[in-house]
Amino acid sequence: MTDARLYAATARTSTQLERADSGRRQTTVLTPEGVELRVEMAERGERAGAFLIDALFVVGAVLVLVFGTIYLMTVLEGYALAFGLVVFFLLRTFYFSFFELIWRGRTPGKRLLGLRVIDRAGGPLRPSSVVVRNLVREVEVFLPLSVLMMPDVVGNAGLVRLCMTIWIGIFALMPLFNRQGLRIGDMVAGTLVVASPKAALLPDLVDSAVSPVGAAPALRPQPVSNRFTFEPNQLEHYGIYELQTLEAVLRRSDVHASQTRREIADRIRKKIDWTSDADWNFKYDGIVVEFLQAFYVAQRAHLERKMLFGKRRRDKHDKS
């Protein structure tokens, strides 16, 4: 249903930060080779999740350390305490930097959630950036925590405490105040956290027929049917946005897919005024899919040809 509605709906004007298919916001990064890569920015929630996972690891390690130190204290006394103090500090300060260095921009938490740190300007991620973005955590996380847990001594009650909380809150909550969701550490280090999901290369709809069951890979790819033909003027109705929505619909395989496809096929036939001598029964999903795919191929061929001449028709409202 949603796709059918989308198809009919007005295409939105593209803003600077377009959304990817996954719903994440995108931004572009210019690689050293001069190609603009579109990257999906990690959602704030995902980043918070990754941080919580990492925090759990750190806390777990610290607990092990504390009990280990207590045990060793009985044997080694002062040395064990010294060891414990230093390792705790190193763990807290360098856990993130260490993993982001050896795992190319990922910590265990980020790895689990499929996130990654990259250079915002598109260059290589430098070790210094990694270190800096994580040293700043001191202000973003540990300072607020220590203020929250500070005992109410003289000069630290009521108003003073409120002011401090607000002041520090600005730092801790910075990701909420900018569109790219940068935290202070990212700003200072010039980095960006992106999602790195894997995409699979699906078969080309132009030369392998979709079975009505869905876009499941057929054992023997069938050529696209050529029983439906379209006149050039019938291909002047739609733009790239509609074409790609149609592609998505053709690749769908959920239970509502056939319903959606039937509605879209009806809508298209009405819009382009398509008639045929033969009597096609558009009740069957097989026929609907065959028709839609034939239309997809014809429409894509048409739009791509126009593109070669420098005309990019964005959507059906684009009259260029």
Binding site: L37, G78, A82, V86, I118, E138, G190, K198, D204, E304
Partner: protein, 338 residues
């Protein structure tokens, strides 16, 4: 009836094999973090990566297949992450850091560091002068934190604190130095990180640190123990105060980059300077570890004033030599990539 052939699907057929090859290589690199590829595969990687990038550019121009565009975008992304992620091993990073990028970074933000030293010195002078004029200031500037050492203490007990080490055993001394190290490192890192707040908290920390020292010094000097306190302080303090000054300078450098970005955007300016400042702060942690050892063990064991002065001044000289020798300027940010 003629079959439609599309340029974009022909293009895909021609290039698909090389994408799949790159995909397989990248997938293997993602699985293992170390060297997962053989020499010949490593040779193929950049070629395949560039081919994929050019495919992406072409596909954007000629193809409307959204699945193909998405796949190429993703493949190029993943290959880019692998190729431009921090690549150096930990050992290389450390060698690079101590050998080149840390001293270079210190030189690059020399002026803010000098400013932070100047602020500390001025605050110390002010603290000294205030306490000399009226010992009551000591309670305001230092408070009760100085292990019960106040103007009310006797000269004898003040002297005792300077030389009472040595009785403790090694374990307790080590614990003491690591406690000092952790405590001071937190303060120093805070000094750096608070540079984000336009430098004001950094300056405050530096000033209060200076005031405290000056006031303390005044207390001892008024009892004729100035020289002895100097030895007690300088053996570790030379290194420690320098480290704090470096962090303060790093914080001020960040504030400066944010407040006065010049021709760049604020974010660009912040990102460029932030990396340099962060290197300086990171190095300061190393200095503080050394200072912690000097303070926790060296000072307790060595009670001779002249040896204390000798060690402290020698450390200062070493640091200055280390930071000031070497080429000027920061060689292309320095750290670990080629």
């Amino acid at each position: 009836m003629k079959r439609t052939t599309l340029k974009s699907s022909q293009f895909r057929k021609e290039r698909e094999a090389s994408w799949r090859e790159l995909d397989a290589l990248v997938a293997r690199m993602e699985q293992k973090s170390g060297v997962a590829l053989g020499p010949s595969e490593l040779m193929r990687l950049p070629t395949l990566y560039r081919a994929a990038l050019s495919s992406l550019s072409v596909a954007r121009a000629i193809s409307l297949d959204r699945s193909l565009l998405g796949y190429l975008e993703n493949l190029a992304n993943r290959a880019y992450f692998q190729i431009y992620g921090p690549r150096a091993s930990l050992g290389e990073v450390l060698g690079e850091f101590f050998g080149r990028s840390w001293p270079a970074a210190v030189r690059a933000i020399g002026r803010p560091i000098l400013l932070s030293i100047a602020v500390t010195v001025l605050a110390a002078l002010a603290g000294y002068w205030l306490t000399m004029a009226d010992p009551e200031w000591f309670y305001t500037l230092v408070g009760d934190t100085a292990q019960g050492r106040t103007p009310a203490s006797s000269t004898e007990s003040l002297r005792e604190v300077l030389y009472d080490g040595g009785k403790e055993d090694g374990g307790a001394l080590t614990a003491f130095s690591s406690f000092l190290f952790v405590h001071n490192s937190r303060i120093a890192l805070l000094c750096f990180a608070l540079g984000i707040a336009l430098g004001a908290p950094t300056l405050l920390l530096l000033v209060s640190n200076g005031l405290l020292m000056g006031s303390f010094f005044a207390l001892y000097a008024s009892r004729g123990l100035g020289f002895e306190l100097g030895g007690w302080l300088i053996i570790h303090g030379g290194t420690e105060l320098l480290a704090v000054a470096l962090c303060g300078g790093a914080g001020l450098a960040i504030a400066d980059a944010f407040l006065f970005p010049g021709q760049k955007t604020r974010l660009q300016s912040l990102a460029e300077r932030g990396r340099v400042a962060g290197l300086v702060a990171l190095g300061a942690v190393v200095m503080l570890a050394i200072a912690g050892i000097l303070e926790g063990i060296g000072r307790q064991v060595i009670t001779d004033d002249f040896v204390r002065y000798g060690i402290g001044l020698a450390m200062l000289a070493l640091w200055s030599l280390y930071f000031l020798s070497g080429r000027r300027g920061l060689p292309e940010d320095g750290s670990g990539h080629d």
